[in-house]
Symmetry: C2
Subunit: 439 residues, 2 copies
Amino acid sequence: MSSPATSLSTDPASGTRDFLPEDMVVRHRVFDTIREVFESHGFDPLDTPAFERLDVLTGKYGEEGDQLIFKILKRGEQEATGEADLALRYDLTVPLARVVARYGSQLVTPFKRYHIAPVWRADRPGHGRFREFFQCDVDIVGSDSLVADASVIATATDALDRLGLGGFRVQLNSRKALRGLIAAYGVDEAREADTLIALDKLDKVGVDGVVAELAERGIPSAAIEALGADLSGDDLHGAVRERLEGTEAGRAGLAEVDRILALLGGEVAGGTVAWSPVLARGLSYYTGPVWEFVHDDLDATIAAGGRYDGLVGMFTGTDLPAVGSSLGIERILLLLAEQDQAATGPDVVVTIMDDDGATDAMEMAQEVRTAGFSADLWVGTGKFGKQLKYADRRDARVAVIAGAREREAGTVAVKHLASGDQATIDRTALVSHLTDLLG
Amino acid sequence: MSSPATSLSTDPASGTRDFLPEDMVVRHRVFDTIREVFESHGFDPLDTPAFERLDVLTGKYGEEGDQLIFKILKRGEQEATGEADLALRYDLTVPLARVVARYGSQLVTPFKRYHIAPVWRADRPGHGRFREFFQCDVDIVGSDSLVADASVIATATDALDRLGLGGFRVQLNSRKALRGLIAAYGVDEAREADTLIALDKLDKVGVDGVVAELAERGIPSAAIEALGADLSGDDLHGAVRERLEGTEAGRAGLAEVDRILALLGGEVAGGTVAWSPVLARGLSYYTGPVWEFVHDDLDATIAAGGRYDGLVGMFTGTDLPAVGSSLGIERILLLLAEQDQAATGPDVVVTIMDDDGATDAMEMAQEVRTAGFSADLWVGTGKFGKQLKYADRRDARVAVIAGAREREAGTVAVKHLASGDQATIDRTALVSHLTDLLG
């Protein structure tokens, strides 16, 4: 290094995070649980490279998205051109589309995959918004059966329940129902997006807010009046259902919703599922059922998804039916990190009182591991007090101590760190004693 | 997209790989096993961002290494400058050094961490050489006790053994012993690197090859003669030990080796450990003990490591003792992918014979999952034959079948796919029947 070492910042790059051991324990536990549930539902893991060729990504995320792609400079002689040829993964859906196009019939169809991995976006970092963050997607490609939609809902449901995040409401709707709704109120098809954006805010801004926004967006006043009346009436579901039954798209959407509700039996592990007549979901690519998992206690949307039959075929030029659920994994990790109080340290720390005891300490640690416990070994230099402090900071449950006196007597001392109780036992009884103590 | 979709290659970027489900099963199994072993030895997980600020990485890997760093273009208005401000992680050691400098006393000392993660190098892709590949490091920072060295050896040993890669030899030496050796043969200190590079090739090129290379590198002929005689003598270990005992560095190095051998008890899980008098390890930053895990049957070095007391302090400007083992995880994954024959599919595939049976099929799948089995559900459209073919391609063990006839009779058919045996049982007995069948 030519510059003095101390002039360098040691913070992680802006918008990224270091995950220290206490963070990683929660992250591993969450990822492991999700993996287990996804696999128990018959989904297979997939992973793709962190970067793609730039042309694979550009044009897939709209103009705004393109601006947020991290681009990688060409290398070697071409570095001086200042041009990029690679880019960091922006989501997990474009890589899925590429994989489906690339491997085709080598994949079992319907292709059920999950993918839990970081993506990178050059967004302005902010509270809870990062430039490197994980996505957690479960998707089915190659089936237009609504059993697929119900399956990805049930899979997300099960995962959230197993994570201890039960108590959510699954709000279910269909893009087709929304199209029917727009038509039923006499809104022009071209104004569908405007209308849906306003409607989607009902939970946040209330009926008056929606009505005001619709007017601002220039929706005809007759339509706004009818909509406003239905939204503030006693029976929103009944009123909207009646209107939907008057249009073809509306009937098709209702049928999708009713079928999925029937398949799920109306109730799901950890929550309820019900039709939500005005749920739209922001993204434009959805083509059929859409849903959000809302957790009122936590005031958060913790999962969402839908059917997007036009997207995965982007590299083959043919439409390919696809449906998926995304867990809001970063939000989930934050919620669980706050809740998580479980001990994370090793079961045992084996201390070393003097050089002569080190070989036996290594042996004891290995015996303890072979019995199925985790055993940390003191590898530093320093007196007993320092070692006990280390065991304490590591959140260990037990310290094993063998000084010269114990070795001579063929014994070992076992200290239970929470209670402070200490017992001197026969060296040969170490494993059985720990098994009793640690359960 | 402005260009036709079909003009795009769907291959992963050069030097990178897609990991399809069959690859991922092996990778997950290997990573999970390693994690479990590392944690049982008291090592904590750490993760750092995929990219660092460019100035954190440059100058750390020599001129050649700097050329291989993937640099990330500035964004927004600054993109046009063609300059980079970020770069993809090149190894896991510089991030460790940054973390140690950044979080200091927030970390428990000695700091025992493992890190399993991808790194990126713009190397020319080739057989078994990738631009995105995983590293798997276990390190202890903040201890100069040789118990730390022995611990990282024992940890790597245990992990390899648990992966079924027993049968290796741990070759152990010390950089101090090598310095003593050079001195003992009368080679100038300034020629140490040249001499070690030549010596390190003994296994590959034999004594004559080493002697020829030493001559080529201009090492004095008296030294070459003495070295050649020792290398081809009956008792290499004895001859070198005698020479080492004549120098201070040599005695210090021998003491390190002997102490680690004593701590490990001469034998380790899955292999043997012995002094290897001419093992040097290529990297220049090692300062004390060094080792390699050589697997003769597999003709591969599957792990390596050593003590590097001068490196981790790079950001603080103070030396900080550190020692670590690296598993050759990509090589290990290749070896195990070849060996791995274990079934990977779901326990059960629940078929759907008609729309009316779909809700019950979903329920059955969930019952089976609750009982602890994995249950895939047919989510496609298509006749029974197609569904059985799917179950077969998924490597499922059992298919559960309920058509209109079964539903009416309150029964369900269970087909064992390997044997072809099929039994029709009471619907209520499904879980107990599967428990008997699948164990």
